[in-house]
Amino acid sequence: MASKFLLVAQREYLTRVRKRAFVVLTLLVPLLIVGFGLFVGKLAESDETTEIVDVRDDSGLGIASQLVSTPQLRFQAVSGTLAEAKQSFQKQKHAGLLYLPAGLSENDPQGVQFFGKGNISLNKENRVEKALTDAFAELKMRKSGLTQTQLDQLRAKVPLNSVSVDETGKEKDSNSGVTTGIASALAILIYFFIFLYGVQIMRGVGEEKSSRIMEVMLSSVKPFDLMMGKIVGVAAVGLTQFLLWGLLSWGATSFVVPLVMGNDQSAKTEVAATPAASPALGSTAATSSSPIADKAAASAEQMNPAKRAGVIGDAFDKLHKLNIPIGTIVFGFIVYFLGGYLLYSALFGAVGAAVDDQTDTQQFMFPITMPLILSYIVGFSVILRNPDGPVAFWMSMIPFTSPVAMVIRLPFGVPAWQLALSIALLVVGFVGTVWVAARIYRVGILMYGKKVTYKELSKWMFYKG
């Protein structure tokens, strides 16, 4: 009977993959991801356009000349009366006017004013304040009689380097930002995959039921094979879609984004395209076939390490250095992905089989989707903040919540016994739900014109074949 199961899975897969909606979605999503990335990138870029702040310095302390311009703010001394200055910064569309009144005390500077148009953003206020504080500090340091070297040493920045230590004493860099990012991405992926494709299972079963093809199918295929064939076929569709999204997004980010973003990166592309133009590479690379061109691109990057390689490669480089158990994450993701999907899609399939009309699915959808939604919400509000807490532990053990809860915990590191127990429980969980779902399915698909209640469903479970 295994071949029939495969035939069913194959049909489910092919009919879905060939649909226009699948092709459109597969092409559109990477475009959206890249487009969204570019949009955010451009926004961030535009946020970094330099704003000009006029400075009217009446203090006589020479503060204006000590204000250090940043990429965001440029300070520019203006002359004239305060009233004139107030007028002119608005006319010239400058960000604001910083006024240092006469008689300002060096040690207790009171009465400094910042005029801006409309309400002043907290961000801007902070930046101006910081520049001002720095300027006062600089001024005082200069007057303290320290040498230039001593001054430079004082100014030295102290970068914070977080290091995580594991049980074996191995030390690795830690980055809570990246870890959190990965955890969130995994949780979102699993959550949406289960929802998106679980509902597809439900619709598919409903379609078969309402088109009355069930009886023909069941005279050839066992209900269990029919249900599992559908589930596996749709899972393959999902995996195909994710694979294509991954490949297309990777392709888009490494080839399209560099072209669109900034001049420095398009310069790099030019170098890669015409290796001979790069003086450092000389004549060896001039006889270029494509692998050499790749090397040329790589060397071009080495020449200029400040310029980034492909976004993905860069990310993997960073991940490698961080204490993130990549192997465990990939393994765990696949296990929880499949386990969670199997568990939920079987239930979705049972719902599709139990009801006559798609509109009747609501009453059964709620209890099924509740644990999933709960694990998502709690995952982001509690587990992400405290991945080793009791809530995180219990939710990553219960099969209905573990797919989302556990993948959130994975990047932070999970004890092996917990992972093993959780996976074992998940397997027990999906075998159990598939068993229950198959029994409801078997009875439901041939039942028409009956308003189904929970009591009815529980009876179906004990019907004889």
Partner: protein
């Protein structure tokens, strides 16, 4: 030939099936001969579909057994059975050709074999141009043809047709009738299940009547009708018919224009039709004279009346 008719292709022995609220089959036994058309007749809700679902292995019997060519029915027989359910349905968004290939493969046919046979069938039904169309783009009648092809494509030796002519227009119904007879000639056994007994009566070689989850009657159609004939004769002729005779009795008599008449005459025991004829010839001009043979419908009602009089009214209502 003697061999083939002696062993039935399908045999049901004391089959019981209970659902939560009611009993669908209560000790039903029947046997379907090879190379024949078998009518499974009875009103709606009699248990026909339950029996068919057991034969097609969609559900199992609670007790009793089904034998396919002497072997206990099992999944290896799926490829030898074709089933056209009462509720017709196909995948709407799937192309006709692909759908037929898929359904045939599920019945154990190889892809290449399926493709070759589909071509033949589509030509025969004159719908070849539709192979690449989605099922939902087809008319109801064409969908029915496609469904019929799907039922017989794997050349099953047992074909089960549940209410086969419902939904077909008269032209297509005739087309299907011819195909069914052809399939029988080629060696298949066919089970017709219907509550409209008159629609299949003329095609059936043997029948089983089912009522309220019990089999009430089965056997070859001719034998059954002979068994139930009442020794009554229909006479049409010209003249003035007056029957006062100890051996005959008029059940019904109608006078028609120009001195014509129609009459049904019951023969009493020990009297032959020739006796009646001789009596009639002396009186009137006989235009037609034939034995009155009850229809399966009449037999059914009579049989039910004999066996379970309390259910008659409901059953009769279901039939009308």
């Amino acid at each position: 030939m003697q061999q083939a008719t002696s062993r039935p292709i399908l045999e049901a022995r004391d089959v019981h099936k209970h659902y939560a609220a009611h009993t669908a089959l209560d000790g039903v036994s029947l046997s379907v001969p090879e190379r024949s058309i078998f009518g499974l007749l009875g009103p709606n809700g009699a248990g026909k579909t339950s029996l068919i679902r057991i034969i097609t292995q969609i559900t199992g019997a609670d007790s009793g057994e089904i034998l396919f060519r002497g072997e206990k029915l099992n999944p290896s027989h799926i490829g030898q059975i074709g089933y056209l359910p009462e509720e017709r349905g196909l995948y709407k968004k799937m192309k006709v050709g692909e759908q037929l290939i898929y359904l045939a493969q599920l019945r154990g046919l190889s892809r290449s074999e399926a493709v070759a046979r589909i071509k033949k069938w589509l030509e025969r039904f004159d719908i070849k141009a539709w192979a690449d169309k989605n099922v939902e783009d087809l008319s109801k009648g064409m969908q029915q043809k496609v469904q019929f092809i799907a039922t017989v494509l794997h050349e099953p030796s047992l074909i089960i047709l549940d209410e086969p002519f419902s939904g077909f227009d008269p032209i297509n119904a005739n087309l299907i009738k011819d195909e069914i007879l052809r399939l029988k000639d080629e060696g298949a056994a066919i089970i017709f299940s219907t509550h409209r007994m008159e629609s299949v009566e003329e095609m059936c070689d043997s029948i089983a009547l089912i009522n309220r989850s019990h089999k009430v009657l089965d056997g070859p159609v001719k034998a059954i009708r002979n068994q139930f004939k009442t020794n009554a004769y229909e006479v049409e002729g010209q003249g003035r018919l007056m029957v006062v005779h100890p051996d005959f009795e008029v059940i019904e008599q109608k006078e028609r224009e120009n001195d014509h008449f129609y009459a049904r005459i019951q023969l009493h025991a020990g009297t032959t039709p020739n006796d009646l004829l001789r009596f009639l010839i002396g009186q009137v001009q006989v235009h037609s004279f034939q034995e009155q043979i009850p229809s399966i419908n009449e037999i059914f009602i009579r049989r039910v009346r004999e066996t379970m009089p309390e259910t008659l009214n409901e059953t009769a209502n279901a039939l009308l």
